[in-house]
């Protein structure tokens, strides 16, 4: 069999809570061969909708942090003056590194004239690989408050891509984080296409424009799904207009629906919990459109 490069669909939203994860899990039902990745590493929920088997866990070290070897320190203060993160403080007559503030840039380590630093691997969390009825799921758990969330997103995406190549599957679906900062940039880097989930509210529209702008910045193609559309029907036209401006495509709507929560409470996707619902029928159509959007 000839080797292939799988397509990568990344589901993003800008605003949180628009339904990314519920929709990602539902779409999974319509693509027979794929690898799933939860790229929202600091609030990962996708695994809650699947029955996980044989979860393998590995520690994740995204970088290192500095520690002062007190016996070697001559208290010259060079490290304190070079640290731009105020992570080195003088307390109880000695310099110490505040781990919460250390960004792991290594400036202090490299510029200490006494070589009085340890450079310790920083455990940022774990990443996991589980079997589900939908194939492999690569997911992670950032230790709350930890650095390197973006690197962990990149890491789970890399593993996902590797598995897809090994399993000869044509598609990786990544459930992305909200926002447009470090984790979001890491999630959308290298994507074949973005599926943006938005809602008909001032915040939904405002945040959609920012994520569309970010996608344009990285020259990525996007399609938009309007969830909870009937909450305020006048927004569809406003959203369509923005989509046009950014040369993205509109891929459909879903109604405001209680079955999102009902399915979650059952630990299933909407399509699994309510296969005959109108939402599931809409989602099947959306999956078809995603297929042609990605050119699968």
């Amino acid at each position: 069999m000839k080797s292939n490069t799988p397509k990568e669909l990344v589901v993003v939203s800008g605003k949180g809570g628009t339904g990314k994860t519920s929709i990602t899990a539902s779409l999974a039902s319509f693509f027979p061969k794929k690898v799933l990745v939860d790229g929202d590493v600091d609030a990962a929920d996708l695994h809650l909708l699947f029955n996980l088997k044989n979860t393998k866990t590995e520690d994740y070290y995204g970088g290192s942090i500095a520690e002062i070897i007190q016996d070697k320190c001559t208290q010259c203060g060079i490290c304190e003056s070079l640290c731009r993160f105020d992570a080195i403080i003088f307390e109880e007559n000695r310099y110490v590194v505040q781990e919460m503030s250390c960004e792991g840039c290594k400036v202090c380590v490299d510029h200490c004239p006494e070589k009085a630093f340890l450079w310790k691997p920083d455990l940022n969390g774990i990443w996991m690989e589980s079997e589900t009825l939908h194939g492999s799921l690569i997911h992670a758990r950032l230790t709350p408050g930890s650095e390197n969330s973006g690197k962990l997103v990149t890491h789970v995406k890399e593993i996902g891509k590797k598995r897809a190549i090994e399993q000869n599957t044509p598609l990786v679906i990544v459930d992305g984080p909200p926002g447009i900062g470090c984790p979001a940039i890491a999630a959308l880097t290298g994507a074949s296409g973005l599926l943006m989930v938005t809602e008909p509210t001032p915040s939904g529209l405002h945040d959609l424009i920012r994520i569309l702008d970010l996608a344009a910045h990285f020259k990525l193609k996007s399609c938009v799904l309007l969830n909870k559309a009937d909450i305020n029907p006048k927004y569809e036209a406003l959203i369509q207009a923005e989509i046009k401006k950014f040369d993205a495509s509109f891929i459909g709507t879903l109604p405001y629906s209680k079955i999102f929560t009902e399915a979650q409470l059952k630990g299933q996707s909407i399509v699994e919990a309510y296969p005959d619902s109108k939402e599931s029928i809409y989602l099947k159509e959306i999956a078809k459109r995603v297929t042609s959007f990605l050119g699968l």
């Binding site: 949180g16 809570g17 970088g63 290594k106 490299d110 650095e147 001032p202 915040s203 702008d213 909450i231």
Partner: protein, 285 residues
């Protein structure tokens, strides 16, 4: 008193609650929108923007004439923000730069200069009745959200106010830490769903690691007994307020309205809530 509103999960109603808490107490507080990746408070507060400040970070710029392509800068960068691109010399990826200064310090030919580069902005708005609010906004394409959050929290306009209400970003990564650090109290807003509970647990772990006092607000409650109540009882976490699921609230939000417009009686409750927190924080400084 600084009160940070956070959540773990996005879309649980952080901004909705934070705005209501602020509007019920706007005579004694200032609102800081620290969800700088997706700031939304200005869409609902409708103030008049009176000042805009640029947030800048030092980002390296390479002078190709002085660069001898030794590669020390690329090696020194822990964030992969620099790359050697053959004859084109050294490339800088602004969005990955943490502004640490490692490359500038290591460069033996002085080819790298730190240049003040805009990564975001802070808008200060006047509201009817004399209140103010600040909104931080990360520039699209940059990843330096924590720097913008820090700038909002340290902005001189915040100093006259006794109470700071800080609307924080979702998640539990460094943006969350930057936003809630230094708060006297953290209010975690969640919803009674498996996602809400799962992410609440992460947020609780985050605030406990930071040793900050906290309590919970539950939004979109549908039944008297729910999974958040059970968890909070087990963990002995105080629930400050429960808000019922109400389509009217969702519709009002979609029109740019606020919670107090649908539930005017809430104002007095939120007034008391802030006073109670004042007493509590005052008792345990």
């Amino acid at each position: 008193m600084k009160i940070a509103i956070a959540s773990g999960k996005g879309g649980t109603g952080k901004t909705t609650f934070a705005l209501a808490l602020f509007l019920a107490n706007s005579d004694r507080s200032v609102f800081l929108d620290c969800d700088v990746e997706e700031p939304n408070a200005h869409l609902f507060l409708k103030g008049i923007e009176k000042q805009k400040d640029v947030v800048q970070l030092l980002i390296p710029k390479v002078n190709a004439d002085l660069c001898n392509q030794c590669g020390l800068c690329v090696k020194s960068c822990q964030f992969n923000a620099l790359a050697m691109a053959g004859k084109a010399g050294v490339l800088v990826f602004n969005e990955l730069c943490h502004s640490c200064g490692a490359c500038t310090l290591i460069c033996p030919t002085g080819a790298i200069q730190d240049v003040e580069t805009p990564v975001g902005e802070i808008s200060i708005y006047d509201l009817k009745g004399g209140a103010e609010f600040l909104s931080g906004r990360l520039k699209v394409g940059h990843s330096a959200a924590p720097a913008v959050i820090q700038a909002v929290k340290k902005h001189p306009s915040t100093t006259p106010y006794t109470h700071h209400i800080i609307d924080s970003p979702p998640g539990t990564s460094c943006s969350f830490v930057t936003s809630v650090s230094g708060a006297d109290f953290v209010i975690l807003v969640t919803e009674p769903t498996p996602f809400g509970l799962h992410d609440l647990k992460l947020a609780v772990e985050g605030v406990e690691n930071l040793k900050l006092p906290y309590a919970v607000v539950v939004n979109r409650v549908r039944e008297k007994d729910h999974l958040i109540k059970k968890y909070c009882a087990e963990k002995n976490i105080k629930i400050l307020l429960e808000l019922e699921e109400d389509r009217r609230v969702a519709e009002m939000y979609s029109k740019g309205g606020t919670l107090l417009e649908v539930l005017p009686d809430l104002k007095e409750k939120l007034n008391l809530l802030l006073s109670d927190l004042e007493d509590q924080v005052g008792a345990n400084p």
